[in-house]
Point group: C2
Chain length 147, copies 2
Amino acid sequence: MCAHCNYQNLLEEAGVEPTANRLQVLAVIGGNDAPLTAAEVFSTIERSHPINRVTVYRILDLLVQNRVVERISSGGRAAHFGLAPNKYHAPHPHFCCSRCGAVICLNPDSLSVDADNLQKTFAGEVSRIEVLVEGICRNCLKQRSNH
Amino acid sequence: MCAHCNYQNLLEEAGVEPTANRLQVLAVIGGNDAPLTAAEVFSTIERSHPINRVTVYRILDLLVQNRVVERISSGGRAAHFGLAPNKYHAPHPHFCCSRCGAVICLNPDSLSVDADNLQKTFAGEVSRIEVLVEGICRNCLKQRSNH
DNA sequence: ATGATTATGCAATATAGTTGCATTAACAAT
DNA sequence: ATTGTTAATGCAACTATATTGCATAATCAT
C-alpha cells in the first residue's frame, strides 16, 4: 500500500531470497496501517493462498532478524509486526488499548525520545528503542460513555 | 529492599486488601532490582511458602490494575513485573537483551521522552508510556568476543 | 453461629510460539 | 536430463505462558 515500497527490493536489499510466501507476508504487513499479529498475517494470506502457520512464524522471524519487519511488543500476549523503519518510514511509537487490545501506529513526531545520555550510563549495545503508549482508544472511550 | 516502600501501605493506599499472598508477591517484586516474570515470582515465593501459580497471576493482574505494579513487555514471550512508578520510584525505561532475554532497569534520566505533541494528534486517553530499549547486554557482548 | 463476600486452590483449557523431521523446490555441476 | 546439495515449506507434536470455571477456605459483618 506504500507507493515507495517495492517488497521485492526490500527483501533483496536485506539479503533475503524473495520467495512467494515471503513476499506475501511482507505485502500483508506493508499493506496494513496497523501492525498485525502472526495469526492475523496467517489468516489473511490463507484466504487466498494455502500456507502453513509455522511458515509464517519462520518468515516473520527471518524478516525481523534482517530488519525488514519490526516486532512490536503490544500490551497483550501476541507480538505485532509492522514494517521496520527505513528511508520511507520513520520510526514511530505505538499505542495499545488496554481495553480492546488494538494496536495503532502513532505519528512519528507525537513523541520525541532523547537518547543522548543512554550511551553514558549503559554498557550494552543498543539496536532499537521502542516506545509504547498505553491507554484507552477513542472507540472504547465512546462505548464507555454510552452507559 | 526499598527503604521508602512499606508494602502494606502501598497496598492499602491502592485500595487493595493486604493479604499475606499479596504482600509476598509485592515484596518479591519490590525486593528485586530487575523486573521478574510471573514464573520467577511464583518460584521465589514457593521456596518459603506454598502458593498456587494461578494465585500469583491473579495477584499480579490485580496489582497492575491498581497501579502498584507495572507490567513490562519484554522482547520475549513472558511479561515482566516491577514496582509501578510512585513518589519514590521515577518511571524509567527498560533494556531487553535480544540474546539472553535479560530485562534490566535503566536510569530514569538515561532517556527523556517529550509527549507534548501526543495530546494534539491522538484522540485516546493515555495512561502510561513505556520505553523499551533493545540490544545486546554487557555480558553477552563479552561472551561473544571470547571466540 | 449464619450468611455474604473475597481470596485461594486445583484441574482443565486456551493461546502463542517452537521443534524435529519429512517433503518439496531451486539450482548448480556434471 | 540426472544427480547432488542446499534452502524453503509443511506437518505433527510439543512447550511455555496465561486464563477459566468451579470448589474450597478465609474473612468479616451481622
